[in-house]
């Protein structure tokens, strides 16, 4: 009894990473346990019903799970927990969704009382058709996603054997000239393809686009790619042209400005969710071609209406890509049930250790409000408080000092409030990119930054996602969207692309001491801290004194 794993009564698993058998153990528990936190010494995994069912779906049985726990556990595993695992896993597969030659999509059971139980649920009744025989009931084909989601919520997950449509074939190959998919990218593509549908979680800068491209090369069919915004759409197009056999003409952009439908079409979430007179006019895009693969970029941002459309697309392969599957609205489970389970997840530090993302030095700089600011902060209205402390004048001085220290390197200053950014831009003599900046102007500035013509760029949250700034080595965050964990991770991601000279990236978060800014910062940092990024905390005075 000297294993690396400790099984807790709340169904979390603690893995001691420095243990000699830690790697074996990680492999053994990965199929059913969700990595929750990965700080330096002890990683925390959680065993959830969803995870156990996904393991069942991937062909693991309860005995394997129990064996893995018993084998690696340092202390005796509570019997009740083992029984609970066996019982939970036993619930999977009592119901199966399959194709019936005469009745189309049907739900079949091996355990009649279960079928009786779920057919009594109010939420299931509208989704099913007539009873074919005591063990089988017809399901409306359009409700395949809905019924799967609902059954999951009822605790009787259905095994989906109805398969996928192949979609319209279209030749796509990876053009691996002078580069190749990285091992973890290959693994991710393989896991996804084997599983049929699902989500791939990779850190920012670890090359998620290539996982998309790799999957398309596997599918060799028409593909719909959903991205967050137009800039991101262009980058996808650029990358696909560069990395695959696809040509510019084969790739269409479906956005606010252009409405092209080609064998590979890149659409933005925004255009899909535009509502006119109570209907979504662009929904037909989903039916406009017989898509063989649908890629959801930044799946953690998937807007609620898209969830509903996605439910109707269960017969098509779906790939979700994200760096941080944390949603402040807690809808992670909807992502899992509608797009698919997590197929690949690599801890940030592991990719860093392999040298594919740059090591980063994360620093939280605490600034003091001046006495007059403190008084003003104390009397500010609740909704104004964050804005007030996040835009304190002292932050400007600190930002200037940091910019001065890293003079000559590519520096991004990121913030939430336009006034603050304008002021910073003015003092730093740097251009500001914000919502009102035109796409053309944005791309021009980004190019100039890439070329090194500009070394400091001030950006608002419009640049949060999918902008590719290869040479940024320093990011300074002056304010953010309250306590958003994934925003923090995305921002850190801006500086994680491996540097040509291999040196460290720097991420500074400037925070006002003893205010809610500090509380929000603590919440924002939680995800990264759990991924093993240790923030150093320094006082502004020290930093100014050094500088």
């Amino acid at each position: 009894m000297n294993g690396p794993l400790i099984v807790q009564s709340d169904k979390t698993l603690l893995l001691e990473v420095d243990h000699e058998r830690a790697d074996d153990c990680r492999r053994a528990i990965a199929p059913f346990a969700e990595l929750e936190r990965a700080p330096e010494h002890i990683h925390t995994y959680r065993v959830t019903p969803l995870g156990l069912w996904n393991a069942r779906a991937a062909g693991h049985d309860a005995e394997q799970v129990v064996d893995a726990l018993v084998e690696y556990s340092r202390y005796p595993v509570p019997h009740a927990l083992l029984v609970d695992i066996a019982e939970t896993m036993d619930r999977y597969g009592r119901l199966t969704l399959s194709k019936h030659p005469a009745h189309g999509l049907v739900l079949t059971t091996t355990d009649r009382p279960v079928l009786e139980e779920i057919l009594r649920s109010k939420r299931i009744i509208p989704l099913v058709g007539s009873r074919i025989d005591p063990d089988t009931v017809a399901v409306h084909p359009s409700e395949r996603g809905q019924i799967k989601q609902t059954l999951l919520k009822l605790g009787w997950p259905a095994e989906d054997l109805a398969g996928y449509v192949d979609g319209e074939a279209h030749p796509i190959e990876l053009a691996e000239d002078g580069w190749a998919l990285r091992p973890y990218q290959k693994q991710a593509v393989e896991n996804f393809w084997h599983g049929g549908s699902g989500v791939v979680v990779l850190p920012c800068g670890a090359g998620k686009t290539l996982v998309g491209a790799g999957s398309m090369a596997q599918a060799k069919s028409t593909t719909l790619i959903l991205v967050t915004n137009t800039v991101s759409a262009r980058q996808w197009k650029h990358e696909l042209v560069k990395r695959t056999s696809l040509t510019e003409d084969e790739i269409g952009e479906y956005s606010g400005t252009r409405k092209e439908i080609r064998p590979v079409t890149i659409a933005t979430y925004q255009v899909l969710t535009t509502k006119r007179k109570g209907v979504y006019p662009h929904l037909e895009l989903f039916d406009s071609r017989d898509w063989g693969l649908i890629v959801y970029d930044e799946v953690h941002l998937l807007p609620a209406p898209v969830f509903k459309f996605t439910a109707d697309l269960q017969a098509r392969r779906r790939l979700g890509l994200t760096a941080t599957l944390v949603r402040e609205d807690g809808r992670e489970s909807d992502v899992f049930s509608l797009i698919g389970p997590k197929r690949f997840d690599a801890p940030w530090k592991e990719i860093e250790a392999q040298g594919y993302i740059a090591p980063a030095d994360c620093v939280e700089v605490r600034v003091n409000l001046t006495d007059s600011e403190r008084l003003a902060y104390a009397t500010a209205e609740t909704e104004e408080k964050y804005r007030f402390c996040a835009t304190t004048a002292t932050k400007r001085k600190v930002t200037e000092a940091i910019v001065k220290r890293f003079a000559g390197q590519q520096i991004l200053v990121i913030g939430q409030y336009i006034d603050q950014l304008d002021e910073l831009g003015e003092h730093l003599n740097a251009p500001v990119i914000k919502g009102e900046t035109s796409n053309a102007q944005r791309e021009k500035l980004f190019d100039a930054f890439r070329e090194g013509e500009i070394s400091v760029l001030v950006v608002s949250k419009v640049a949060n996602f999918s902008i590719d700034l290869p040479e940024a080595t320093v990011a300074i965050q002056v304010s953010g969207t309250f306590g958003s964990r994934q925003e923090e991770a995305q921002r850190l991601g801006r500086v994680l692309r491996p540097k040509a000279d291999g040196h460290q990236a720097h991420f500074y978060s400037v925070v006002a001491r003893d205010t809610i800014d500090q509380d929000f910062a603590a919440h924002r940092q939680r995800f990264l801290a759990e991924q093993g990024y240790a923030y150093r905390i320094v006082d502004a005075d020290e930093l100014l004194a050094e500088g």
Partner: protein, 854 residues
């Protein structure tokens, strides 16, 4: 039995013939017979024949022995061994029954429920009354009355008719007629011939009644097939519209068997799964450690003011819920831990005016013991406690809620059932976990319930169920199998471990059933010895408990003296911590996850808590550095400093009055003045002094010192002193107190009149002159024997008696009663005075007198 030449004529004689050892056996089995010690064997025999004692003995018989007693109750009196065996095994015979019967009969004899030699077996009369079938109390055998009993009161002519219809010659008198009929029914061949002639429908009716209940309904004009049966006495009328299947006929149809399913062999306890013994021990040890941690956590939670004691005693439902949430367990489990701590003497009510539960001084001693010893104490307390936490949340017979730590949770059977359950587990091969159902079935066989089953599970079954789950929670069992230390706790010898088979695969398989080969003969005898484990006496139990503790010690994890600190502000203790470390860390950080390890999270609030507890930032840094195997992460040390920086920045204290003055020299003067010492002034700021004295005293004091202070209001204005009108808090006007009682309402009046009239009847009814003359108005006085005799006579005659009665409060009264039943020291009677049926303890009846017929 020692002298078969002269068979005993009574139970007393049979007892007299028994040797000392066999008498000791009887008295051990029925300890109620020697409380108080009887004067002679006749008295012992009388006592052994009392209804209460017989019932008690019958309740403690196993199913087969009880079945044997039931068979004797329907057999002749006396019955021969052969007759008994036929009743038990049927005409065809049953080797299993035949093998088990001598033992069962022996048990009945040992317990003085049966006496007489094998030719003349007699069931004690009371037992026979209890077990024999009667219309009110159907027998579990499902048999009806004998032909003789059923034909009592039937006209001789009718009996002769039946005889003729059954194809027998008529006789001179009814007695011989009944004998002939009985003989016919008992004769298998003749009976078969008789029945063969019957219509199929008739036989079907018999088939319906054969296994009981033997009674059926008939219309005044029965159908032909019923007529056929009635004519031949195969069904006999008992009351208008009701017929019964005579016992002899039923036995013929049953091929002689008294029971449909005799159960000579106890149901085996089936192993549901078998685990490797080390896995069982380790799991149990893990759970044992959890038990200790849980009890500690519970009492720690109650350290600062535990929950209040309810007025009726016990813990309120809300407090139990709160405790369950705090321990992160379901409520019944929380109730178990609370009761366990109570049973082990670790927690009790503090007995203050505002009564609360708190840990006892014994808890502090307990904490200082090594873990194994702590566990032993809990385990012993659990094993021997009569309190059963499983009852918590239920309701008692009076529909009062049963609360944890409250009254009404004692069940005298609990320790015995617990012991029995564990003994059954000990009887299994090592590492085998039984199916709960088979354990419960075995217990039911050992102690069957007499009479019809009531709704739900009986108490013993519930107790056994609880015992199984509690043993698991306490770590006596692991994975459902008895652990080595659990075995030691019972005082059972350890099972010699054969060479450990090479472990195949990791751990063991959970849902897989392992079937075992037939155990060898020696193992079997060892197991039989285990299955008959007796509860231990207290000193023996102490030794056994200590042994269990010794076995457990090496299995418990060694407490650690370090934690792993991480940059996400968590600390992980990869195992149990030494107590001082755990205590300190519990203050400095919040517990996030429990189990084999503990995950702590540092937050500003938790660090502040540590600072409030008197630690300094330097202390905390040193503490973290000492107990961390790795360097202290920078964010954590920053957090400590950051909180420390602000800690104590604002100071809060209580003062009841202050002095303020713009001129700080005046305040300096006051402070320096010796006369101000009594005012205990303290300088808070150059211009402010504070004191614990109230403003009035302060004003007076300062005035005495020659100053002219002015009082200040809460808003800072100068208060002007003026005579103020004093007011009480809101009060209600007094209720009027009238001179006499309120006029009675009609109900009260009617009740009063009835009572008066009944008293009058008692006083004026002419009495039969008996030996003792009774003056009017005085309570009758008779000796206890006379009282009893008179009562019993009145039951038979249906007469009315006049009794003197002293109630529980000691108030004497006279009552006119018509006794219905006298048994067990109570008389049940219709009370004319109260106009209802009541039960009186005989010892409270001072005397009795017969009333003259009205």
């Amino acid at each position: 039995m020692s002298n078969p030449a002269t068979p005993p004529r009574s139970l007393a004689e049979a007892l007299r013939a028994r040797d000392d050892a066999s008498l000791a056996l009887l008295l051990r089995a029925r300890p109620d017979l020697i409380t108080p010690v009887p004067t002679d064997l006749t008295q012992l025999a009388t006592r052994a024949g009392t209804r209460a004692s017989v019932l008690r003995a019958l309740e403690r018989l196993d199913r087969f022995t009880l079945q044997t007693a039931e068979a004797l109750a329907v057999a002749g009196d006396p019955a021969s061994y052969g007759e008994l065996q036929r009743l038990m095994a049927g005409d065809a015979g049953d080797p299993a029954v035949a093998a088990a019967l001598p033992h069962a009969l022996g048990a009945l004899r040992d317990q003085a429920l049966v006496w007489g030699d094998d030719e003349r077996l007699r069931l004690v009369r009371t037992a026979r009354e209890v077990l024999a079938p009667s219309p009110q109390h159907p027998s579990p055998t499902g048999l009806g009355p004998t032909v003789r009993e059923a034909t009592t009161g039937m006209s001789p002519g009718r009996i002769q008719e039946i005889l003729t219809a059954a194809g027998l010659p008529s006789t001179h008198d009814p007695v011989s007629a009944v004998d002939k009929l009985t003989a016919l029914f008992g004769h298998r061949k003749k009976m078969a011939r008789l029945l063969a002639a019957g219509p199929a429908e008739s036989l079907e009716v018999l088939g319906r009644l054969v296994w009981g209940p033997p009674y059926g309904q008939v219309t005044p004009e029965p159908a032909a097939h019923l007529r056929w049966l009635l004519d031949r006495g195969l069904l006999l009328p008992t009351a208008p519209g009701t017929v019964v299947l005579p016992r002899e006929v039923a036995l013929h149809l049953r091929e002689g068997r008294a029971h449909r399913e005799p159960e000579p062999v106890p149901p085996a306890v089936e192993p549901a799964a078998t685990h490797r013994p080390p896995v069982v021990d380790a799991t149990a040890a893990g759970q044992a450690y959890t038990a200790l941690a849980t009890v500690e956590e519970l009492l720690k939670d109650w350290d600062e003011g535990g929950p209040a004691v309810l007025r009726a005693g016990g813990l309120s439902v809300r407090d139990l819920k709160r405790t369950a949430v705090a321990l992160d367990v379901p409520e019944p489990v929380a109730a178990f831990w609370v009761e366990l701590a109570y049973a082990a003497g670790l927690l009790a009510s503090d007995g203050e005016a505002d009564e609360r539960y708190a840990a006892t001084p014994a808890y502090d001693e307990w904490l200082d013991r090594p873990p194994a010893e702590r566990w032993s104490r809990l385990a012993e307390a659990w094993l021997t406690a009569t309190r059963s936490s499983g009852l918590v949340g239920g309701r008692d017979a009076k529909d009062r809620a049963l609360s944890a730590l409250g009254p009404g949770l004692d069940r005298s059977a609990a320790p015995e059932v617990r012991h029995r359950v564990l003994a059954l587990l000990a009887g299994l091969p090592e590492g085998a976990a039984p199916a709960a159902g088979s354990v419960l079935a075995r217990l039911r066989w050992e102690r069957p319930l007499r009479g019809p089953q009531q709704q739900g599970e009986d108490l013993r079954t519930r107790l056994a169920r609880w015992a199984l789950s509690e043993a698991e929670m306490l770590g006596v069992t692991g994975r459902g199998a008895l652990s080595a230390h659990g075995r030691a706790l019972l005082g059972a010898p350890p099972v010699p471990r054969t060479a450990e088979p090479a472990a195949e695969g990791p751990g063991d398989k959970l849902p897989v059933r392992h079937h075992h080969g037939v155990p060898s003969l020696t193992a079997l005898t060892a197991l039989t010895a285990l299955a008959t484990l007796e509860p231990l006496s207290p000193p023996e139990q102490a030794v056994a408990t200590a042994n269990a503790g010794r076995l457990l010690t090496p299995l418990l994890p060694e407490p650690l003296d370090h934690v792993l600190l991480q940059a996400d502000l968590t600390a992980v203790a990869p195992g149990p911590l030494r107590r001082p470390l755990a205590d300190a860390l519990g203050v400095l950080a919040d517990v996030e996850s429990k189990g084999g390890a503990t995950v702590y999270r540092f937050t500003p609030a938790s660090v502040r808590r540590a600072l409030d507890a008197g630690r300094t930032a330097t202390d905390l840094h040193a503490f973290l550095a000492t107990h961390s195997r790795t360097p202290v992460p920078q964010p954590l040390s920053y957090l400590v400093d950051d909180v420390a920086r602000r800690h104590g920045h604002l100071r809060v204290g209580a003062a009841s009055a202050y002095v303020r003055c713009d001129d700080d020299t005046v305040l300096g003067e006051i402070l320096a003045d010796k006369r101000a010492a009594a005012l205990r002034l303290r300088r808070l700021a150059p211009t402010v002094l504070a004191t614990q004295a109230d403003p009035a005293t302060l004003l007076e004091g300062l005035r005495a010192m020659g100053y002219a202070p002015a009082a200040e209001s809460a808003e800072g204005d100068v208060l002007i002193t003026r005579a103020d009108a004093h007011r009480t808090p809101p009060r209600t006007a007094p209720e009027p107190v009238p001179d006499g009682p309120p006029p009675p309402d009609p109900t009260l009046l009617a009740a009063a009149i009835r009572a008066i009239r009944a008293g009058d009847l008692a006083a004026t009814t002419p009495r039969k002159s008996s030996g003792t003359s009774v003056q009017g108005g005085e309570l009758p006085r008779t000796t206890a024997a006379e009282t009893l005799a008179t009562m019993q006579a009145a039951v038979l005659t249906g007469g009315t008696l006049w009794i003197g009665y002293v109630n529980a409060e000691g108030t004497a009264s006279q009552r006119v009663v018509a006794p219905i039943r006298v048994e067990g020291g109570f008389v049940t009677a219709y009370d004319h005075t109260a106009d209802e049926v009541r039960t009186y303890p005989l010892h409270r009846v001072t005397g009795v007198a017969e009333l003259a017929e009205e």
